[in-house]
């Protein structure tokens, strides 16, 4: 009887913990979220600004946990969230969960050489043959440099 009640308590506690929000990095300071769709439509107007976004985590860096991809459920717009290696480590279990992330929106401009290297790596990862003709101009990308996040 005692064993059963102990197991029940342990199970209830585990279920409570499972639904609990997990905090990463610094505490969130902003309250108002910026829709990912709005950032996706006009990224230039957000460069350098600190924003709070909310969305579903669809992918996590499987080697270092150093980035997550968050999507806006309604529009399908996505945003890459990057952290400094080791500072925050996102777990793979974050996939499918809701993330609130605060960070600085950044613009990354690659050189032609870097773009070719990125494309080569991407092809290697997907097992495809790299065709240099597919890279015609230097890559410009945007990302959120995360300061803190809450995932639940």
């Amino acid at each position: 009887m005692m064993l059963k009640s102990a197991l029940f308590t342990l199970l209830s506690f585990s279920l409570l913990l499972a639904g609990e929000a997990k905090h990463y990095g610094k505490k969130l300071t902003l309250e108002k979220t910026t829709p990912i769709e709005a950032i996706d439509k006009a990224p230039e107007s957000f460069v350098g600004k600190t924003v709070l976004v909310e969305g579903t985590v669809v992918d996590v860096c499987k080697k270092r946990g150093c980035w997550i991809k968050v999507v806006d459920d309604k529009s399908g717009s996505s945003l890459l969230v990057k952290v400094k290696d080791g500072e925050i480590v996102f777990p793979l279990e974050a996939r499918g969960k809701t993330a609130r992330v605060e960070g600085v929106f950044q613009k990354l401009e690659s050189t032609m050489e870097e773009t070719v290297e990125h494309a080569k790596k991407a092809c290697k990862l997907e097992g495809k043959e790299f065709d240099p003709a597919t890279v015609t101009k230097p890559d410009v990308s945007y990302r959120l440099k995360a300061l803190g996040a809450v995932i639940k």
């Binding site: 669809v58 499987k62 999507v71 529009s75 996939r95």
Partner: protein, 183 residues
Amino acid sequence: MTFRNRLRQLHRDFGYFFFGMSVIFAVSGLAVNHIDDWNPNYKLTVKTGLLSPSLSFGPPLPVQKIANSIGLRDTVTGYVRSGMHRFMIFLGTNSLEIDTLGRSYRYEQVEERWLLHAFNRLHLNELKNEWVFFSDFFALGLFFMAVSGLFLNKGRNGLKGRGGWLALVGVMVPVLFIGLYLI
């Protein structure tokens, strides 16, 4: 008891005590050194293909039916729209992304290399908090073992002989790399 004998005993005891930590850091060090060539935490299996032409995409999106149609038996834990014609279906830590326009799918199965992953998490100090104290103690222990090791033997094999030369060569390797690549 001489100072050298006392040092030898301490060196031995530290060696025994940090056996486990040394193995964890050595194994994880090897695994993480080659992180560009392989994934030391998870084994990933990717399967791609086309969805059955008889499947309809709702709404609502018949997620479990789609998963079952490609032979997956895992239970769907959620799904989200991930693009214009794309949906990401979650099956625990595994995921299935479908393109409703091209009727294609990409299934990603993730298997955790749990022991290695645990070693890496300890090595890379992901746990922080109390773990930092123990790993700091290990670092100090390593420092003590490195220094005390120099004085374990005297004579031809000691610091004034072969041991000294080996220590010097061992120090020169990182110095050479710093000189060549980091200055």
